[in-house]
Point group: D2
Chain length 93, copies 4
Amino acid sequence: MKAVAEIQIIPIGSGTSVRPWVRRAQAIIAASDLVVQEHSFGTNVEGELETVFRVLREIHETLHAEGVVRLSSAIKIGTRTDKSPDLASKLRE
Amino acid sequence: MKAVAEIQIIPIGSGTSVRPWVRRAQAIIAASDLVVQEHSFGTNVEGELETVFRVLREIHETLHAEGVVRLSSAIKIGTRTDKSPDLASKLRE
Amino acid sequence: MKAVAEIQIIPIGSGTSVRPWVRRAQAIIAASDLVVQEHSFGTNVEGELETVFRVLREIHETLHAEGVVRLSSAIKIGTRTDKSPDLASKLRE
Amino acid sequence: MKAVAEIQIIPIGSGTSVRPWVRRAQAIIAASDLVVQEHSFGTNVEGELETVFRVLREIHETLHAEGVVRLSSAIKIGTRTDKSPDLASKLRE
Protein backbone atom coordinates (compact mmCIF):
# COMPACT_ATOMS: atom_id res chain seq x y z
CA MET A 1 0.00 0.00 0.00
CA LYS A 2 1.33 3.42 -0.99
CA ALA A 3 1.46 6.08 1.70
CA VAL A 4 2.74 9.52 2.54
CA ALA A 5 4.15 10.04 6.01
CA GLU A 6 5.82 12.58 8.23
CA ILE A 7 8.56 11.35 10.54
CA GLN A 8 9.85 13.39 13.49
CA ILE A 9 12.30 12.01 16.05
CA ILE A 10 13.05 13.44 19.48
CA PRO A 11 15.97 11.94 21.42
CA ILE A 12 15.33 12.50 25.14
CA GLY A 13 18.18 12.91 27.58
CA SER A 14 20.85 13.29 24.90
CA GLY A 15 21.53 17.00 25.38
CA THR A 16 19.84 20.06 23.94
CA SER A 17 21.42 19.62 20.51
CA VAL A 18 19.70 16.75 18.76
CA ARG A 19 21.36 17.59 15.44
CA PRO A 20 23.64 14.52 15.09
CA TRP A 21 20.75 12.15 15.79
CA VAL A 22 18.37 13.88 13.40
CA ARG A 23 21.08 13.66 10.71
CA ARG A 24 21.56 9.96 11.47
CA ALA A 25 17.81 9.38 11.00
CA GLN A 26 17.82 11.41 7.78
CA ALA A 27 20.67 9.26 6.45
CA ILE A 28 18.69 6.10 7.17
CA ILE A 29 15.65 7.53 5.38
CA ALA A 30 17.83 8.69 2.46
CA ALA A 31 19.25 5.18 2.07
CA SER A 32 15.74 3.83 1.40
CA ASP A 33 13.82 4.25 -1.84
CA LEU A 34 11.33 6.64 -0.26
CA VAL A 35 10.73 10.06 -1.85
CA VAL A 36 11.95 12.59 0.72
CA GLN A 37 10.97 16.16 1.63
CA GLU A 38 12.86 17.57 4.62
CA HIS A 39 11.54 20.48 6.66
CA SER A 40 12.12 22.09 10.05
CA PHE A 41 9.77 19.81 12.00
CA GLY A 42 10.59 16.46 10.44
CA THR A 43 10.95 14.57 7.19
CA ASN A 44 8.04 13.88 4.85
CA VAL A 45 8.27 10.68 2.82
CA GLU A 46 6.32 8.95 0.07
CA GLY A 47 6.47 5.26 -0.81
CA GLU A 48 5.38 1.85 0.41
CA LEU A 49 3.90 1.83 3.93
CA GLU A 50 6.00 -1.27 4.58
CA THR A 51 9.16 0.69 3.77
CA VAL A 52 8.11 3.50 6.11
CA PHE A 53 7.77 0.97 8.95
CA ARG A 54 11.12 -0.67 8.10
CA VAL A 55 12.85 2.72 8.14
CA LEU A 56 11.21 3.66 11.46
CA ARG A 57 12.34 0.40 13.04
CA GLU A 58 15.87 0.92 11.71
CA ILE A 59 15.97 4.48 13.09
CA HIS A 60 14.95 3.35 16.59
CA GLU A 61 17.35 0.38 16.55
CA THR A 62 20.30 2.33 15.15
CA LEU A 63 20.02 5.35 17.41
CA HIS A 64 19.73 3.14 20.49
CA ALA A 65 22.70 1.05 19.33
CA GLU A 66 24.72 4.24 18.94
CA GLY A 67 23.93 5.63 22.36
CA VAL A 68 20.50 7.26 22.52
CA VAL A 69 18.89 6.02 25.75
CA ARG A 70 15.37 7.25 25.11
CA LEU A 71 13.78 7.97 21.75
CA SER A 72 10.38 9.44 21.00
CA SER A 73 9.09 9.58 17.43
CA ALA A 74 5.94 11.18 16.04
CA ILE A 75 4.61 9.85 12.74
CA LYS A 76 1.68 10.91 10.59
CA ILE A 77 0.54 8.51 7.88
CA GLY A 78 -1.81 9.27 5.00
CA THR A 79 -3.37 6.66 2.71
CA ARG A 80 -6.25 6.92 0.22
CA THR A 81 -8.05 4.77 -2.31
CA ASP A 82 -9.31 7.39 -4.78
CA LYS A 83 -5.84 8.13 -6.09
CA SER A 84 -2.21 7.42 -5.26
CA PRO A 85 -1.11 9.48 -2.24
CA ASP A 86 1.86 11.73 -3.02
CA LEU A 87 3.68 14.59 -1.36
CA ALA A 88 3.48 16.90 -4.39
CA SER A 89 -0.32 16.93 -4.60
CA LYS A 90 -0.59 17.43 -0.84
CA LEU A 91 1.36 20.67 -1.29
CA ARG A 92 -1.30 21.87 -3.72
CA GLU A 93 -4.16 20.87 -1.46
CA MET B 1 12.12 -4.26 20.43
CA LYS B 2 9.56 -3.31 23.10
CA ALA B 3 7.74 -0.02 22.62
CA VAL B 4 4.90 2.10 23.88
CA ALA B 5 2.83 3.91 21.29
CA GLU B 6 -0.19 6.13 20.85
CA ILE B 7 -2.41 5.50 17.83
CA GLN B 8 -4.99 8.01 16.60
CA ILE B 9 -6.92 7.57 13.36
CA ILE B 10 -8.83 10.25 11.48
CA PRO B 11 -11.00 9.12 8.54
CA ILE B 12 -11.36 12.07 6.14
CA GLY B 13 -14.44 12.50 4.02
CA SER B 14 -16.46 9.87 5.87
CA GLY B 15 -18.86 12.22 7.64
CA THR B 16 -18.56 14.07 10.94
CA SER B 17 -19.12 10.94 13.01
CA VAL B 18 -16.00 8.82 12.90
CA ARG B 19 -17.26 6.56 15.66
CA PRO B 20 -17.77 3.32 13.67
CA TRP B 21 -14.29 3.56 12.17
CA VAL B 22 -12.60 4.30 15.49
CA ARG B 23 -14.38 1.27 16.95
CA ARG B 24 -13.21 -0.84 14.01
CA ALA B 25 -9.62 0.23 14.66
CA GLN B 26 -9.99 -0.45 18.39
CA ALA B 27 -11.24 -3.98 17.60
CA ILE B 28 -8.17 -4.63 15.44
CA ILE B 29 -5.89 -3.41 18.23
CA ALA B 30 -7.80 -5.48 20.81
CA ALA B 31 -7.35 -8.61 18.70
CA SER B 32 -3.56 -8.25 18.99
CA ASP B 33 -1.52 -9.09 22.10
CA LEU B 34 -0.75 -5.43 22.77
CA VAL B 35 -1.53 -3.96 26.19
CA VAL B 36 -4.21 -1.34 25.57
CA GLN B 37 -5.17 1.98 27.25
CA GLU B 38 -7.99 3.82 25.47
CA HIS B 39 -8.55 7.55 25.91
CA SER B 40 -10.38 10.39 24.22
CA PHE B 41 -7.62 11.22 21.71
CA GLY B 42 -6.52 7.74 20.71
CA THR B 43 -5.39 4.38 21.99
CA ASN B 44 -2.12 3.84 23.86
CA VAL B 45 -0.48 0.46 23.41
CA GLU B 46 2.48 -1.44 24.81
CA GLY B 47 4.22 -4.40 23.19
CA GLU B 48 6.52 -5.32 20.34
CA LEU B 49 7.20 -2.48 17.88
CA GLU B 50 6.71 -5.03 15.10
CA THR B 51 3.19 -5.74 16.39
CA VAL B 52 2.40 -2.03 16.49
CA PHE B 53 3.37 -1.73 12.81
CA ARG B 54 1.37 -4.85 11.87
CA VAL B 55 -1.71 -3.46 13.64
CA LEU B 56 -1.31 -0.07 11.95
CA ARG B 57 -1.06 -1.70 8.52
CA GLU B 58 -4.13 -3.81 9.26
CA ILE B 59 -6.10 -0.75 10.36
CA HIS B 60 -5.30 1.16 7.16
CA GLU B 61 -6.00 -1.88 4.94
CA THR B 62 -9.22 -2.87 6.70
CA LEU B 63 -10.78 0.57 6.87
CA HIS B 64 -10.03 1.20 3.20
CA ALA B 65 -11.44 -2.23 2.27
CA GLU B 66 -14.62 -1.38 4.21
CA GLY B 67 -15.18 1.99 2.57
CA VAL B 68 -12.97 4.72 4.04
CA VAL B 69 -11.56 6.66 1.07
CA ARG B 70 -8.96 8.68 2.92
CA LEU B 71 -7.33 7.83 6.24
CA SER B 72 -4.92 9.87 8.31
CA SER B 73 -3.24 8.37 11.36
CA ALA B 74 -1.01 9.98 13.96
CA ILE B 75 1.34 7.72 15.90
CA LYS B 76 3.77 8.43 18.72
CA ILE B 77 6.34 5.78 19.53
CA GLY B 78 8.54 5.58 22.62
CA THR B 79 11.50 3.23 23.07
CA ARG B 80 14.31 3.21 25.62
CA THR B 81 17.30 1.12 26.57
CA ASP B 82 17.62 1.86 30.29
CA LYS B 83 14.48 -0.12 31.15
CA SER B 84 11.51 -1.72 29.44
CA PRO B 85 9.07 0.93 28.19
CA ASP B 86 5.60 0.51 29.65
CA LEU B 87 2.40 2.50 29.85
CA ALA B 88 2.05 2.24 33.63
CA SER B 89 5.38 3.89 34.45
CA LYS B 90 4.73 6.63 31.91
CA LEU B 91 1.63 7.52 33.93
CA ARG B 92 3.81 8.02 36.96
CA GLU B 93 6.38 10.10 35.11
CA MET C 1 -15.13 28.65 21.74
CA LYS C 2 -15.28 25.28 23.50
CA ALA C 3 -12.62 22.74 22.59
CA VAL C 4 -11.11 19.42 23.53
CA ALA C 5 -7.35 19.12 23.37
CA GLU C 6 -4.47 16.76 24.05
CA ILE C 7 -1.31 18.25 25.53
CA GLN C 8 2.01 16.42 25.54
CA ILE C 9 5.27 18.03 26.63
CA ILE C 10 8.78 16.77 25.93
CA PRO C 11 11.67 18.54 27.71
CA ILE C 12 14.80 18.07 25.58
CA GLY C 13 18.24 17.93 27.15
CA SER C 14 16.94 17.61 30.72
CA GLY C 15 17.89 13.98 31.27
CA THR C 16 16.05 10.76 30.46
CA SER C 17 13.57 11.17 33.31
CA VAL C 18 11.10 13.86 32.39
CA ARG C 19 8.84 12.99 35.30
CA PRO C 20 9.26 16.17 37.41
CA TRP C 21 8.56 18.39 34.41
CA VAL C 22 5.52 16.43 33.33
CA ARG C 23 4.20 16.71 36.89
CA ARG C 24 4.86 20.46 36.86
CA ALA C 25 2.85 20.79 33.66
CA GLN C 26 0.04 18.64 35.08
CA ALA C 27 -0.11 20.90 38.14
CA ILE C 28 -0.47 23.97 35.93
CA ILE C 29 -3.28 22.29 33.98
CA ALA C 30 -4.95 21.15 37.22
CA ALA C 31 -4.91 24.73 38.54
CA SER C 32 -7.07 25.84 35.58
CA ASP C 33 -10.79 25.17 35.22
CA LEU C 34 -10.25 22.70 32.38
CA VAL C 35 -11.73 19.20 32.63
CA VAL C 36 -8.74 16.84 32.77
CA GLN C 37 -8.11 13.25 31.62
CA GLU C 38 -4.52 12.08 32.15
CA HIS C 39 -3.05 9.18 30.20
CA SER C 40 0.37 7.74 29.37
CA PHE C 41 1.01 9.96 26.34
CA GLY C 42 -0.27 13.28 27.60
CA THR C 43 -3.18 15.06 29.22
CA ASN C 44 -6.56 15.49 27.54
CA VAL C 45 -8.49 18.60 28.46
CA GLU C 46 -11.91 20.11 27.80
CA GLY C 47 -12.86 23.76 28.14
CA GLU C 48 -12.40 27.15 26.54
CA LEU C 49 -9.84 27.22 23.71
CA GLU C 50 -8.55 30.47 25.22
CA THR C 51 -7.85 28.67 28.50
CA VAL C 52 -6.00 25.89 26.67
CA PHE C 53 -3.72 28.50 25.08
CA ARG C 54 -3.19 30.30 28.39
CA VAL C 55 -2.23 27.02 30.09
CA LEU C 56 0.16 26.13 27.25
CA ARG C 57 1.87 29.50 27.49
CA GLU C 58 2.16 29.14 31.26
CA ILE C 59 3.68 25.65 30.92
CA HIS C 60 6.34 26.86 28.48
CA GLU C 61 7.12 29.96 30.56
CA THR C 62 7.21 28.14 33.90
CA LEU C 63 9.33 25.18 32.81
CA HIS C 64 11.86 27.49 31.17
CA ALA C 65 11.92 29.72 34.27
CA GLU C 66 12.59 26.63 36.40
CA GLY C 67 15.46 25.33 34.29
CA VAL C 68 14.27 23.50 31.17
CA VAL C 69 16.46 24.78 28.31
CA ARG C 70 14.48 23.32 25.43
CA LEU C 71 10.81 22.37 25.43
CA SER C 72 8.80 20.67 22.71
CA SER C 73 5.04 20.32 23.04
CA ALA C 74 2.56 18.48 20.84
CA ILE C 75 -1.06 19.61 20.96
CA LYS C 76 -4.17 18.28 19.24
CA ILE C 77 -7.25 20.50 19.25
CA GLY C 78 -10.79 19.50 18.35
CA THR C 79 -13.68 21.90 17.80
CA ARG C 80 -17.13 21.36 16.25
CA THR C 81 -20.31 23.30 15.58
CA ASP C 82 -22.90 20.51 15.58
CA LYS C 83 -22.61 19.93 19.32
CA SER C 84 -20.37 20.90 22.23
CA PRO C 85 -17.06 19.04 22.05
CA ASP C 86 -16.38 16.93 25.15
CA LEU C 87 -13.95 14.25 26.21
CA ALA C 88 -16.64 11.82 27.37
CA SER C 89 -18.40 11.54 24.03
CA LYS C 90 -15.08 11.17 22.24
CA LEU C 91 -14.48 8.05 24.32
CA ARG C 92 -17.70 6.60 22.97
CA GLU C 93 -16.92 7.51 19.38
CA MET D 1 8.19 34.42 24.00
CA LYS D 2 9.59 33.43 20.61
CA ALA D 3 8.61 30.01 19.27
CA VAL D 4 8.68 27.78 16.25
CA ALA D 5 5.58 25.74 15.54
CA GLU D 6 4.07 23.32 13.05
CA ILE D 7 0.36 23.71 12.29
CA GLN D 8 -1.67 21.00 10.56
CA ILE D 9 -5.44 21.20 10.16
CA ILE D 10 -7.79 18.33 9.31
CA PRO D 11 -11.43 19.21 8.53
CA ILE D 12 -13.57 16.15 9.33
CA GLY D 13 -16.75 15.44 7.44
CA SER D 14 -16.09 18.02 4.72
CA GLY D 15 -15.34 15.59 1.91
CA THR D 16 -12.11 13.90 0.85
CA SER D 17 -10.64 17.07 -0.64
CA VAL D 18 -9.58 19.37 2.14
CA ARG D 19 -7.73 21.64 -0.26
CA PRO D 20 -9.94 24.78 0.00
CA TRP D 21 -9.83 24.68 3.81
CA VAL D 22 -6.08 24.18 3.97
CA ARG D 23 -5.69 27.17 1.62
CA ARG D 24 -7.98 29.22 3.84
CA ALA D 25 -5.85 28.40 6.86
CA GLN D 26 -2.66 29.21 4.93
CA ALA D 27 -4.11 32.61 4.01
CA ILE D 28 -4.82 33.36 7.66
CA ILE D 29 -1.27 32.39 8.62
CA ALA D 30 0.15 34.44 5.71
CA ALA D 31 -1.78 37.51 6.89
CA SER D 32 0.09 37.40 10.22
CA ASP D 33 3.70 38.47 10.74
CA LEU D 34 4.87 34.91 11.31
CA VAL D 35 7.74 33.52 9.21
CA VAL D 36 6.22 30.72 7.15
CA GLN D 37 7.53 27.43 5.71
CA GLU D 38 4.86 25.35 3.95
CA HIS D 39 5.26 21.60 3.40
CA SER D 40 3.12 18.59 2.58
CA PHE D 41 2.05 17.84 6.15
CA GLY D 42 1.40 21.33 7.44
CA THR D 43 2.83 24.80 7.80
CA ASN D 44 5.85 25.61 9.95
CA VAL D 45 5.93 29.07 11.49
CA GLU D 46 8.31 31.19 13.53
CA GLY D 47 7.38 34.19 15.68
CA GLU D 48 5.70 35.15 18.93
CA LEU D 49 3.92 32.26 20.68
CA GLU D 50 1.04 34.66 21.30
CA THR D 51 0.70 35.21 17.54
CA VAL D 52 0.70 31.46 16.92
CA PHE D 53 -2.23 31.08 19.35
CA ARG D 54 -4.10 34.03 17.80
CA VAL D 55 -3.70 32.53 14.34
CA LEU D 56 -4.86 29.10 15.54
CA ARG D 57 -7.95 30.61 17.14
CA GLU D 58 -8.70 32.57 13.96
CA ILE D 59 -8.33 29.42 11.83
CA HIS D 60 -10.79 27.46 13.97
CA GLU D 61 -13.27 30.35 14.15
CA THR D 62 -13.08 31.21 10.45
CA LEU D 63 -13.36 27.67 9.10
CA HIS D 64 -16.34 26.96 11.34
CA ALA D 65 -17.98 30.26 10.31
CA GLU D 66 -17.50 29.29 6.67
CA GLY D 67 -19.01 25.82 6.98
CA VAL D 68 -16.60 23.29 8.46
CA VAL D 69 -18.58 21.33 11.07
CA ARG D 70 -15.69 19.56 12.72
CA LEU D 71 -12.07 20.64 12.78
CA SER D 72 -9.06 18.83 14.16
CA SER D 73 -5.68 20.55 14.36
CA ALA D 74 -2.29 19.18 15.35
CA ILE D 75 0.32 21.65 16.57
CA LYS D 76 3.92 21.19 17.63
CA ILE D 77 5.58 24.03 19.52
CA GLY D 78 9.27 24.48 20.21
CA THR D 79 10.76 27.02 22.63
CA ARG D 80 14.25 27.31 24.09
CA THR D 81 16.23 29.61 26.35
CA ASP D 82 19.79 29.05 25.09
CA LYS D 83 19.15 30.85 21.81
CA SER D 84 16.25 32.22 19.78
CA PRO D 85 14.27 29.37 18.19
CA ASP D 86 14.12 29.63 14.40
CA LEU D 87 13.08 27.45 11.50
CA ALA D 88 16.33 27.86 9.58
CA SER D 89 18.58 26.46 12.31
CA LYS D 90 16.18 23.57 12.88
CA LEU D 91 16.75 22.58 9.25
CA ARG D 92 20.46 22.37 9.94
CA GLU D 93 19.99 20.33 13.11
